[in-house]
Symmetry: C2
C-alpha cells in the first residue's frame, strides 16, 4: 500500500506534499532492501514483518531522520539506515500495542492488525523481529572514523529510547492508566507522551543529525525541537481520535473515550488542547533557530503536523 | 533466587561445579549492575524484567561467552557486557515463548511465568525491554581500536542471531510444527534446533571470542563447537522432558508429548537420541582442537551438559 499523504495542504508551502511523497518513496525503497523478502525462510514471519511495515504509514520518523541530517549540513543518504531502523521500531511498537493483551485493536492504517491477520503468536514474533532488525540495520551504518559519533553511539541512542525507560515504559504507564477508576494528572500524562511519542521522534532527529556529524549545539536544538513536536503530535492525535472517523484515521476512532483513557481532550477539552498543541509547535519552531535556513523543511513539517486531519 | 547448580557431577573434573557457581555469581553481579533497579520508574516493568532474569537460570550462555574469551587468550572481564546481553536475550525469548499465544507455560525455573505473575501485557513488554536492553548493554562494550572487531560487529552478530532468520524464526517453525497432524522431518527438526538453540549458544561463544580479539581460525572453531554443543543440548533437553519430573526440571515436563510436538525422542526414541547427543558432543570436542589446552573448561562444560539431569 502506498504512503498515505495529503493531496493538498493549505497552511504549508505548496511543494511540501510532493517533497514528503518523494521522501516516503525513498524510505520505502530502503525498507524493501533492508528487510528479508517475504519468501525468505521462515516465510510466515517475513511476510508478517513486511505486511505491517508496508501498511501505508506516514513515514514521519524516517523523514525527520533524513531531514535532520540535511538540516545539519549532511546528505539524507547518510541517514537511510537509521531512518529504516526507526520505522522498524515504530512498526514493532504498533504491532505489540495493538495486541489483545494491550490496546486490543483490530484496525491499523485501514488494515486488519497483525494479530487479526496472522494470529497472536506470529504478531508477537513479528514485533520481536522488527525490533531486532532495527539494530541489525543500524550496525551496518558507515560512520566516518574522524567524526564525533560512531555506530555504538547510534545503537545506544536507539536502545535507550526504545527501552523500558521510554518507549516500552510509556506503554506500561499507558496500560496502567486505562480504566474508569484511573485519572492521570497532567504531569503524568505529559510523562507518558514524552516516553511513548516524543522520545522516538526526538531520537529519529538525533540519529539523522549524528550521521551528519552534528555539533553538540545542533543536536541539542533538534532534541528540543523533537520534544515539543512530539508532545504537539500526541495531543493532535488524541484530538483526532475524538473528532475524526475510523475511516479517515485508518484506525479505531473514539477508542480513548470508550476506554476512559486519560488524554489532553479528556482532561482539558478540545479548545484548550488545540491551543496547547499550537503553543508547543511554536516552541518547536523557536528551538530550530540555531539551525538557521537549513531547517526550513523541519519548520514546514511541524506546521503540517499541527494542521493534519488524520 | 540463586543459580541452580549441581552439588556433584561424576563425569567431569571435581572443581567444575565450584567454577560454574563462581561464574554464575559474576554474571549475576553484572546483570544487577546493568539492569535498572526494580524501583526505577516505571517500577512494574523493571520489577518484571528482574523477576525473570533472576529466576535462577543456569547462566549457560554467559558462562560460555566468558569462557570463550579466556579460551582465546583474553580475560573474562572483557566479555562481561556481552555475557549479560546474551542472558537478557535468552530471558526475553523464554518470556515470550511461555505466553498463552505461544507455548502457554505457567511454570519456568520452578516459578510462575511472567504472564502468570504480571499479566500478559506486562510480560510482552518485559520481553521487549530485555531484548532492547541487550543492545544497550552491548553498545557500551569497550573494544580496542587496534583489534579485529568493533562494537558494530558485536551488535550485528547478536541482532542476526536474535532475529527472524534464527531465534525468532526458530520459534515460528516451532509454533507451526505443533499439533497432531504435523510431523516434522529430521532435517526440519535439526533446522529448528539450529535456529532456536544452537544459534544463541554459538553467538555467546563468538561474542566472547571477539572481545578477546580472536583469530578467524579460533572464531571458526568456536562456531563449530557451538553448533554441535547446541544441537546436543537441545536433544538432551527433549530427552529430559520425557524422563524427568516437572519438579526436577523447574518447568512443565511431558509437555512435548502432550502437545504432539516433534522432538528427537519422539522421532527416534530415547536410546538413539542419547547416542546422537553423545556423538554431537564428541564432534564439539574435536572442533576445539585449534584452541588447545586453553579450551579445557569448554570441554568440561560440554561433558557436563551431556550428563545433566535437569
Amino acid at each position: 500500500m502506498p504512503c498515505k499523504l495529503p493531496s493538498s495542504c493549505n497552511t504549508v508551502k505548496p511543494d511540501l506534499p510532493t517533497y514528503l511523497k518523494s521522501r516516503c518513496n525513498i524510505v520505502d525503497a530502503a525498507l524493501r532492501e533492508f528487510l528479508p523478502t517475504a519468501k525468505t525462510r521462515p516465510a510466515t514471519i517475513h511476510d508478517a514483518m513486511r505486511y505491517s511495515v508496508f501498511a501505508g504509514g506516514k513515514r514521519l520518523r524516517p523523514i525527520l531522520c533524513m531531514e535532520a541530517a540535511e538540516a545539519c549540513g549532511g546528505k539524507y543518504e547518510a541517514a537511510l539506515r537509521p531512518s529504516a531502523a526507526v520505522e522498524c521500531i515504530h512498526t514493532y511498537s504498533l504491532i505489540h500495542d495493538d495486541l489483545p493483551c494491550m490496546d486490543d485493536d483490530d484496525l491499523r492504517r485501514g488494515q486488519p492488525t497483525s494479530h487479526v491477520k496472522y494470529g497472536e503468536g506470529i504478531a508477537v514474533l513479528a514485533g520481536d523481529a522488527l525490533l531486532t532488525i532495527a539494530f541489525e540495520i543500524l550496525a551496518d551504518v558507515k560512520m566516518s572514523s574522524r567524526g564525533r559519533y560512531n555506530v555504538a553511539d547510534l545503537v545506544k541512542e536507539l536502545a535507550v529510547t526504545a527501552g523500558s525507560r521510554h518507549l516500552v515504559g510509556g506503554q506500561v504507564l499507558d496500560l496502567e492508566g486505562e480504566g474508569e477508576d484511573v485519572t492521570l494528572t497532567p504531569t503524568e500524562l505529559k510523562y507518558i507522551h514524552l516516553s511513548k511519542t516524543a522520545a522516538l521522534l526526538t531520537t529519529s532527529l538525533r540519529l539523522g543529525a549524528m550521521c551528519a556529524n552534528a555539533t553538540p549545539r545542533k543536536l541539542e536544538a533538534l532534541t528540543d525541537f523533537g520534544t515539543n513536536l512530539g508532545l504537539a503530535f500526541q495531543i493532535i492525535d488524541d484530538i483526532l481520535d475524538v473528532t475524526q472517523s475510523s475511516e479517515n484515521l485508518g484506525k479505531s476512532a473514539g477508542k480513548d473515550a470508550a476506554t476512559d483513557k486519560s488524554t489532553y481532550p479528556a482532561l482539558f477539552g478540545l479548545e484548550k488542547s488545540r491551543a496547547e498543541a499550537a503553543k508547543l509547535t511554536e516552541k518547536a519552531h523557536l528551538a530550530l533557530n540555531p539551525l538557521g535556513r537549513k531547517a526550513k523543511r523541519l519548520r514546514e513539517i511541524a506546521d503540517y503536523l499541527l494542521d493534519r486531519d488524520y
